[in-house]
Amino acid sequence: MTIYSFFIFDRHCNCIYNREFTQTSAAGVNNGLINKNNTSHSSKLLFGIIYSLKSLSAKLISENELTSFTLGQSFRFHFWESVTSYKFVVVTGYDVDDMQQVLVRLHQYFVDCVASNGLTPVEFKWSANGEKLDNVGYSVICNNSFVEETDQYLQSLSIY
């Protein structure tokens, strides 16, 4: 059982947070990558798959929300979306079952550290070179307390 990565997409389809964990025996600070692959092909692909699956599941079974899906025998993608269209995705080993509570908890960190903190942006308009755009702030979450607290939380889980 493993947690591989954690993504947040905003309502403009941008990957505003991307955290990839490198599994080492010494779980702790700064293992892995933070916001390195937000614009990567695989990030975009992931969003595309989620987008399609979400539409599909809404068409097939109304009242049912997409929660997770597996790819082959190695990965399970866990999905939760806020009413405000922030999409939270955690990628784990395929043997991890339900992560809904974890995703809701991650959203709470987002509320406390990002949304409630008026000096960090919540509108993440995309700029290709990662530059700050007028009045819209940075394109990714680069708020230390959010990074620290979510890292700490995810790494404290038994499935990590």
Partner: protein, 243 residues
């Protein structure tokens, strides 16, 4: 503008000219002087017969009870959201962090002027006194003033060991800083500048000319601990040595 920087008092938003005469017979016009509102036979009869008259269709602050009304509460988040937006907006208007802090100080200043009079008024006629010594007014600021605004007393009040005109009020858990995580491009901004302005406005009004700055000095368990450093004008010290 230069005057604003020395004494951050606001310019007037409403002015009357010599041509403005009151239709109701009430209202003072400084351009005309006491003739503008002298008692006429109409106003006299209104006053004598205790007639109620309506001067404006808008509700009047003068009809409200401000001294012993039940305190109304709102969500701390609302203030926090508002305050952050003030900082963001002010940031856009400022040339650098120092300028931003000055502007926040100025906004707080006018609030401090108001709070001083309001809180003293609420002490009631018997207890409402003017403070004559620096130490007395500081006890007031650290105590009932702080409590009225922030719901608790400030944590400490200290006098500088080395500099005779310096005092410090220390707050371990500043209310407004709670949700604010200063991003990198705000450098060493201290949002306490706003509260420093409130203190400065109150002290200046009370006749204790002072410069107040906010400094974050974290301690174990109190990452947001803030020291408000007050440097009093020499004239205050001279006055104390005379009286």
């Amino acid at each position: 503008m230069s005057e604003d920087i020395i004494l951050p008092s606001a310019t007037s938003l409403s002015k009357l000219t010599i041509h403005d005469t009151s239709k109701t017979g009430f209202g003072y016009n400084p351009a005309i002087g006491p003739i503008s509102n002298s008692i006429t036979s109409e106003t006299s009869s209104i006053l004598i017969n205790k007639r109620t008259i309506t001067l404006s269709s808008a509700p009047s602050i003068y009809e409200r009870n401000i001294t012993n009304k039940k305190p109304v509460e709102i969500n701390l988040s609302s203030l926090s959201f508002l305050f952050c937006e003030i900082v963001n907006w002010t940031h856009g208007q400022s040339r650098g962090i120092h300028d931003l802090e000055m502007k926040l100080n100025k906004l707080g200043y006018s609030i401090g002027q108001r709070y001083l009079e309001l809180i003293k008024l609420r002490d009631g006629i018997k207890l409402n006194k003017r403070d004559l010594k620096i130490i007395d007014i500081l006890h007031f600021i650290h105590g009932s003033f702080w409590k009225s605004i922030f719901g608790k007393h400030a944590n400490e009040l200290e006098k500088s060991q080395d500099v005779p005109n310096e005092y410090m009020i220390i707050e371990n858990m500043p209310l407004l800083a709670k949700f604010i995580n200063i991003p990198k491009d705000y450098a060493d901004l201290n949002c306490g500048a706003f509260v420093a302005g409130i203190i400065e406005g109150a002290l200046d009004s009370a006749g204790f000319y002072v410069n107040v700055t906010a400094h974050s000095v974290p301690m174990d368990g109190f990452p947001l601990r803030t020291v408000f450093l007050m440097k009093f004008d020499q004239s205050c010290l001279i006055r104390e040595s005379i009286h």
